[in-house]
């Protein structure tokens, strides 16, 4: 992962001006940082990610990857720079775990069962990094939700892209798997990747993210490190809940919701 990569959104708006899903958002995503996007339901978090990936066309504004307009990149070119973990993860067919991970190599032309050596190595590495060695020959319909989340993570890592976008990767997972998935993503960032992750758990976001983007009503409310931005006033403002923010012994921030 020596290539540098950035995604720029410049004054991006989506939706009608009366009730915009995104309103005049300018933001840059880059490597070597784990960015968590937080905000209430309907704040525009998923829309922001979909714009960055070309899944949603903005009504105004410009999106570029590595200073090239997103629309000028072919799907393959884009997929070699940024990989995507969408929210919905149901598989249509009970593929084998290894085959799902191998799909991560799609942009490099590898067909299932006939992977080139380089692709096979990337797949094996991703399988190991997500602890799936013992599950590699299982069918995905026999896996638990946590195991399936790990498989999707491995699939995204197998692409070995400099950037990763994940929409609620830990939704509906048990605490063990929440930490595990976040640790995998953190590890990916430590190795030089850049991750943008939508999270709902503020404590999880504070302890793993290098940068928090707070969203409300289609706008960015704040953008900065957890230490700078995680305050009870902001939580009240963005989420409309009362909360206490404290510092644990290890320095990580702890958020406790106390009521509405």
């Amino acid at each position: 992962m020596t290539r540098t990569a950035t995604i720029n959104l410049d004054k991006v708006s989506v939706g009608e001006s009366a009730t915009p899903r995104l309103s005049n958002v300018t933001v840059t995503f880059q490597q070597n940082e784990l960015t968590a996007i937080i905000g209430p339901n309907g704040a525009g978090k998923s829309t922001l990610l979909k714009c960055a990936l070309g899944l949603t066309e903005p009504d105004a504004g410009a999106i570029s990857i590595n200073n090239k307009a997103l629309t000028s990149l072919s799907p393959i070119e884009r997929a070699r720079i940024v990989s995507y973990l969408p929210q919905m993860r149901a598989l249509a067919w009970p593929l084998k775990v290894r085959d799902v991970v191998a799909l991560g190599r799609f942009a490099y032309g590898g067909a299932l069962g006939r992977l080139k050596a380089e692709d096979a190595a990337a797949v094996d590495q991703a399988i190991i990094s997500c602890g799936l060695e013992r599950l590699r020959d299982r069918n995905t319909d026999t896996l638990s939700g946590g195991e399936l989340a790990r498989v999707h993570c491995a699939r995204a890592f197998a692409a070995q892209t400099p950037l990763l976008i994940a929409d609620e990767p830990v939704a509906s997972l048990d605490p063990h798997h929440q930490f595990k998935i976040m640790a995998f993503i953190k590890d990916y960032v430590t190795k030089g990747g850049g991750a943008v992750v939508v999270l709902h758990d503020l404590s999880l976001a504070a302890s793993f993210a290098d940068r928090l983007i707070w969203m409300k009503d289609g706008k960015i409310n704040a953008d900065g490190s957890p230490d700078e931005t995680m305050t009870r006033e902001r939580i009240q403002d963005v989420f409309d809940v009362s909360a206490e923010v404290s510092k644990r012994d290890d320095g990580a921030l702890q958020v406790t919701m106390t009521g509405v």
Binding site: K50, L53, G54, L55, S74, P75, I76, R78, A79, R80, V82, S83, Y84, L85, P86, M88, R89, A90, L91, A92, W93, P94, L95, K96, D99, V100, L103, G104, F106, A107, A111, L112, G113, N139, H152, R155, A159, I165
Partner: protein, 328 residues
């Protein structure tokens, strides 16, 4: 199972089925006479029975079954639904309607290509409509319901044509399109459909990898680098061309496209791309066997192939549907 081994087995089974279809029939033809007719020796009668009746019929059944098996596998991959199939989704019915319209208004007499082209036009109209509905509505149940609506609508239009049919001759023509049969097909009929089958095949083969990626859902497939618009368009055009060509040979025959891919999928680790070719072979074999059944089952008038296919296929459809887990 290794893909090459699977395809070799299916290829051999295909040859065996076609050979059996030449061998069996109302006029007994012992192997000795069959071989003689094959190499050009033997009596003129045997030669005609083999080369102008049984072999074209067997090959027509194989091509039509193969076409439907392939289209079923491709549509199932695109729509991520094991129940998608040209017959169930109303594509075959609209294709048959296109063909009957051409016959009904005498356009089919203008050129031999009018009939396959009208069948293809009907099939394409239905597949485009389905693809459009599938994009706007991600629910798979809705899609099947839309397909059932399309089938019923095509059926109603066909009934309207039956009502208006000017004479008994056109009436029986209409019925044979809806029931489906490969009796009395010649190599010339097959050659007419050939170019469309070939073109459709190219479209389907080019969309294979995209279908595998679509297992993860459309958004994830987009993220992997699949050109969704292109994949969707290729499958729609490919299945439209192939289903239309198959219907122009044999009329509307349902359910082959569900049963064949369903049986193949576990053998290829459920990979939609690797399902395509084996499902085509198996579809061909199944329809050749069904056509042998049609010829051997003693009924007052010969059973229609489409009728037998539906008698076997519809219960299979119900079984597969009841096996689906809810929530997807």
């Amino acid at each position: 199972m290794n893909d090459r081994l699977l395809l070799s087995c299916l290829g051999l089974a295909s040859l065996a089925a076609i050979f059996a279809a030449c061998f069996l029939g109302s006029t007994p033809m012992p192997p000795g006479r069959l071989f003689a007719a094959m190499v050009g020796a033997g009596s003129v009668g045997d030669h005609i029975v083999l080369w102008e009746i049984r072999l074209p019929r067997a090959i027509a059944a194989f091509i039509v079954g193969g076409a439907l098996g392939l289209c079923g596998a491709a549509l199932q991959g695109l729509l991520r639904n094991p129940l998608a199939e040209p017959g169930v989704l109303g594509v075959s019915a609209f294709s048959a309607l296109g063909a009957t319209l051409a016959l009904f208004y005498g356009a089919a007499a203008l050129s031999p290509f009018v009939l396959p082209l009208s069948a293809i036009a009907g099939a394409l109209a239905a597949t485009f409509f389905l693809a459009f509905a599938a994009i706007r509505n991600s629910s798979m149940v809705t899609l099947i319901l839309i397909g059932i609506g399309l089938s019923s609508f095509a059926g109603a239009l066909m009934a309207l044509l039956l009502n208006l049919a000017p004479n008994p001759f056109s009436l029986s023509d209409l019925i044979s399109w809806t029931l489906g049969s490969v009796a009395n097909r010649s190599f010339a009929d097959l050659a007419l459909a050939g170019p469309f089958l070939g073109a459709g095949l190219i479209f389907i083969v080019m969309s294979g990898r995209g279908l595998t990626a679509l297992s993860l859902g459309e958004e994830a497939a987009h993220g992997l680098g699949v050109n969704l618009r292109r994949t969707r368009m290729f499958v729609v055009i490919g299945t439209g061309l192939i289903t239309g060509a198959a219907v122009s040979i044999a009329g509307a025959i349902g359910f082959v496209g569900i049963v064949a891919p369903h049986l193949i999928r576990p053998l290829v680790n459920h990979d939609p791309a690797r399902t395509l070719a084996p499902a085509a072979f198996l579809g061909g074999i199944l329809l050749v066997l069904a056509d042998i059944g049609v010829r051997l089952i003693p009924t007052p008038s010969e059973l229609r192939l489409g009728v037998l296919a539906a008698l076997i296929g519809a219960p299979a459809f119900i079984w597969i549907a009841s096996q689906r887990r809810t929530g997807s």
